[in-house]
């Protein structure tokens, strides 16, 4: 799909590469994000990569919409292939046995051990971050364990909870309300203001889960 540029209010524009969750689309988003951030135009504030779109935010007191559009279009004419930064590989140790592990096993007519085997058997891409500081949306989950969200979100999900929702998986960096199905917990800290950088993950990183055992 050819990318399109649309205004998003008077201080941002949205570059749409598609509207699906798809790895090659997301890689184009990440590549353009890296390109814009590496060669910022005057008045460029920041860009926000998502699954299939890049939001480009600018200061309308410094540049006009036309100037920013021209700049983004020009940058997009460069090859976006191979331009993303080299992804980091991060292994996340997980103690499985979370609130919803039994439900997910029952839902898919398999053992909890099988759910854990499938969850730990592939490498996931950080498609985007959002929701709370440091929350990474990881995909894609094997269809064999894809499970709908809770009908009613929990008012509190503990920090370090590893969950799944539809074809996504993710980890709660801080305690927050949430509707994802919780499979286990990690002791890794995803968001630490005292650390540099303060976030464990960046968009584009590759993440795998390693089982530290299953609690009954």
């Amino acid at each position: 799909m050819k990318a399109s540029l649309v205004p998003f209010g008077d201080s941002a524009l949205l570059v749409k590469f598609g509207d699906e969750i798809d790895l090659s689309t997301n890689q184009r988003v990440q590549a353009l994000d890296a390109l814009l951030s590496a060669n910022p135009h005057q008045g460029f504030i920041e860009s926000v990569p998502a699954y299939a779109t890049l939001l480009v935010i600018y200061d309308p007191l410094i540049v006009t919409h036309t100037q920013v559009s021209d700049w983004v279009r020009m940058e997009m004419e460069r090859s976006l292939e191979g331009l993303s930064r080299k992804p980091r590989r991060i292994r996340v140790p997980v103690r499985y046995g979370g609130e919803d592990l039994d439900f997910v096993a029952l839902y898919h007519h398999m053992s909890t051990r099988e759910v854990v085997r499938i969850h730990t058997s592939r490498e996931y891409t950080v498609y985007m971050m959002g929701f709370t500081p440091g929350f990474a949306y990881l995909g894609k989950l094997d269809d064999a364990i894809a499970t709908p969200r809770l009908a009613t979100p929990r008012t509190r999900v503990e920090a370090g909870s590893v969950g799944i929702a539809g074809a996504q998986t993710g980890i709660y960096p801080i305690a927050s309300p949430g509707g994802w199905r919780i499979l286990g917990r990690t002791s890794l800290q995803l968001f630490d203001l005292a650390a540099d950088p303060p976030f464990l993950f960046s968009p584009g990183d590759l993440v795998s889960f390693v089982s530290e055992g299953i609690d009954a």
Binding site: L14, E46, T53, T64, S202
Partner: protein
């Protein structure tokens, strides 16, 4: 240094906001009324990036522990210093020991109190803004409370040069009840047909009680989507008008999440966001009208230019 004696409502430290971290999920925070924050800093002789006190839905009383100059802006409050009353949008000299009060008065929701030199709190991720949900920024990531001591930096100029100045009335945003807001349609124009766009633009929507620093919920004629109300999550900014499945629009405000999964019918322009921010939830209604990106950017630059050039000697009262 200023000491907080009494405070209620939503009083926080804010600067223009935390930029550059949205791709990691960190909201901008910053002021609900960015123009008023900028004006308060200008009146106090500060750079536009200095940290100020934002107060909403409550009142605050402080005591100066040293001679200083303060400046106020915003709407819905009056200011008193020692035994004198001052309207907002003025700067004034405060002698050590004098009390400063911001009390509710008239139309509006948010006021800003700047001190010459700016409030000095630790920068977190490049900003002094308070992010209440994340519990960081500002004063320990929390609301200001009685007993807090707030240190200020070095004023840019001698205090007497900064005191007794006003922002001309014609330079300020045209705050008022039931404002008309200019909006730019999109970016999900493909999710709303002409009929629903017409419904959105031809009716009044009331700011509902469940409005806060994250978003203002609008209640009015239901807006229907073409297809589903779910969207693959994408980035958000302040001013974006999301329409969830119930068809009632929500305007994203200062503490909004960095991404969302509802189609956006429009975005409120920067020049008019202060008019919306100052609406009283449960009382004021807004009416949206379509504009273009170019017109919106010109309006914003003109408004900002008026504020940058709008400082005059103190006029003693609110006459225009």
């Amino acid at each position: 240094m200023l000491e907080i004696l009494n405070v209620s409502g939503l009083a926080t430290i804010q600067d223009p906001g935390r930029m550059g971290w949205r791709k990691f999920g960190v909201p901008v925070s910053g002021p609900m009324d960015p123009l008023a924050l900028r004006a308060a800093n200008l009146l106090a002789g500060n750079t536009t990036g200095a940290a100020v006190i934002e107060i909403g839905a409550g009142e605050i009383e402080l005591r100066a522990l040293q001679d200083c100059v303060i400046a106020t802006a915003g709407a819905g409050f009056s200011c008193s210093v020692n035994v004198w009353d001052f309207p907002l949008w003025d700067s004034c000299f405060v002698r050590a020991g004098w009390k400063i009060q911001l009390n509710r008065s008239g139309f509006g929701m948010w006021a800003y109190l700047a001190v010459a030199g700016g409030f000095e709190v630790q920068e977190i991720l490049g900003s002094r803004s308070t992010y209440l949900r994340g519990k960081f920024g500002g004063r320990d990531g929390r609301l200001l409370q009685a007993g807090d001591l707030l240190r200020s930096g070095e004023p840019a100029r001698p205090l007497m040069d900064l005191a007794a100045r006003s922002m001309q009335a014609q330079a300020r945003p045209l705050y008022g009840e039931n404002p008309t807001l200019d909006v730019i349609p999109g970016p999900q124009m493909d999710r709303f047909d002409d009929k629903n766009m017409e419904i959105f633009l031809s009716n009044s929507y009331k700011a509902s009680h469940s409005s806060d620093r994250m978003g203002y919920r609008l209640a009015g004629p239901r807006l229907a989507h073409i297809g589903s109300a779910d969207l693959t999550s994408e980035g958000l900014t302040m001013g974006a008008v999301q329409v969830p499945a119930d068809g009632q629009p929500i305007v994203m405000m200062a503490d909004c999440a960095t991404a969302g999964g509802y189609p956006k019918i429009a975005a409120v322009i920067s020049a008019d966001l202060p008019l919306l921010a100052q609406c009283t939830p449960g009382r004021d209604s807004v009416h949206c009208q379509e504009t273009t990106v170019q017109a919106a950017q010109e309006k914003y630059r003109a408004l900002m230019e008026r504020i940058m050039n709008g400082i005059v000697p103190f006029q003693g009262s609110d006459f225009a």
